[in-house]
Amino acid sequence: MSFIYHFGRYLIMLKGMFSKPENPKLYWKEFMHQCSEIGIGSLGIVCIISIFMGAVSAVQTAYQLVNPLISRIIIAQIVRDTVILEFAPTLVCIVLAGVVGSKIASELGNMRVSEQIDALEIMGINTKSFLVLPKILAALVTIPLLVILSMVLGIIGGRITIAASGIIPTALYDTGLRTEFVPYNVFFAMAKAYTFAFIISSIPAYFGYFVNGGSLEIGRNSTKSVVVSCIVILLADYVLASLLL
């Protein structure tokens, strides 16, 4: 019953976002602000985890490929495909669910508890449209870009490790990256990125927007929003993989 109640309220919140903006200029300003908060604000962590996941992926693949009958070029292909198919979209988005999700939930929760949302409502502003929609749109714009950046940095991270440890020659790694490349994988990764971007922004927005209580509840809802977002991301990951691969 609780799930149906929350899911219904979540859908009503999403429906309520779509109304004529009172002043499009302010909505645009808020959207750009959110792009900066979500996109630029997450740039550092995305760069760090992407380089390391590429590096670790390269080392661990090389460690497992001990059979002399398997060409070492495959290390590059495995790094490329795992980064594009799974690590960049899923791992980065799970990290972003924590970084961006908790920020969205606590920001909206604080606004709710301190009556700032009520103040906007009293002014005659559609708060779902003014506060929630720009966050979701900004996430849909910036998170896929971060995922693309993560793919590039992951592959570079793998190359740096290969070059530093001498597992295989870098020229072989570069050749491996270009061998049997399937562009559809990038499309699949982007489909995941857009889906996860929506999950990362809308679920925490729901938990933040409907906070009821005080600062303790903001913390609880913020944590809950990250947990639920991560579970839904993993579920969506499985569904998308089943449908699109």
Binding site: N23, S114, M123
Partner: protein, 256 residues
């Protein structure tokens, strides 16, 4: 004028408002008083549409608020200003940006005109020169005044104040009361104040609605209250021996 008839509201099994009816008069400071949990905040939230009453009708100058659609309510809300208990200022904005926000959202004025209006209202609430400060950098009393400035910047017809004196020292409290009273007369607004501040009741109570357990218990003004025979009201207003002594003095000074 705001008139509400037979307003009822319940949360689950708990009846918070029970058939409350009253008329809030224009150009007067209308007070809703009562102990904590008596339903005054819920009543005020019903009046501004933050809560939907389960029963009853609310009329703004004769027009039914309860029957308005969302767009009509949005239009009406541009004529409503509200001062919240915690001021509800936007943390990330300066005092100037907080007050300018409704102007940015709802007017087509240029920036110079907007800033002129912001400075006017800041001067009106005696906060000239505080434009660039953030809410975290100003005192509780100043926050209330910024809240009032933001509430009146669009020249509203109706002003709602939820416990404007809470957390303030008696002197600042009196200044805020007087400011609200003066602004009400100046802007010819219908002002509705939720309070349990005894001083506010006696100083600015033009039209008082006393509530207890979600019901209307007594109505009158600050003069009537001295001679009110309602036992609950007397226990609420003149709670301490000091206040009972003050009541006796007031009765001597203002014979019935």
């Amino acid at each position: 004028m705001i008139e509400f008839n037979n307003i009822s509201k319940r949360f689950g099994e708990k009846i918070v408002l029970n058939n409350v009816s009253h008329v809030m008069e224009t150009g007067k400071t209308n007070l809703i008083i009562g102990t904590s949990g008596s339903g005054k905040t819920v009543l005020q939230k019903c009046l501004v549409g933050l809560f939907e009453p389960d029963e009853g009708n609310i009329l703004y100058d004769g027009v039914s608020f309860t029957e308005m659609n969302e767009d009509e309510r949005k239009m009406l809300r541009q004529q409503i200003g509200m001062l919240f208990q915690g001021s509800a200022l936007f943390d990330s904005m300066t005092v100037e940006e907080n007050i300018k926000f409704p102007l940015d959202m709802f007017t087509k004025q240029n920036n110079t005109e907007k800033l002129k209006r912001v400075n006017e209202v800041l001067e009106r609430v005696n906060l000239s020169g505080s434009n660039k400060k953030f809410p975290a950098e100003i005192s509780g009393g100043m926050k209330k005044r910024v809240g009032i400035a933001r509430a009146i910047v669009l020249n509203p017809k109706y002003l709602f104040c939820d416990e404007p004196n809470s957390g303030l020292d008696p002197q600042t409290s009196m200044l805020i009361d007087q400011l609200i009273k003066d602004i009400t007369l100046e802007y010819k607004m219908t002002t509705i104040i939720n309070t349990h501040d005894m001083n506010s009741v006696m100083e600015i109570g033009d039209n008082i609605l006393y509530m207890k357990d979600g019901k209307k218990e007594w109505t009158g003004n600050s003069k009537d209250i001295i001679y009110a025979e309602n036992k609950n009201l007397n226990q609420f207003i003149f709670a301490s021996e000091f206040l009972q002594g003050a009541k006796k003095n007031m009765m001597q000074q203002q014979p019935k």
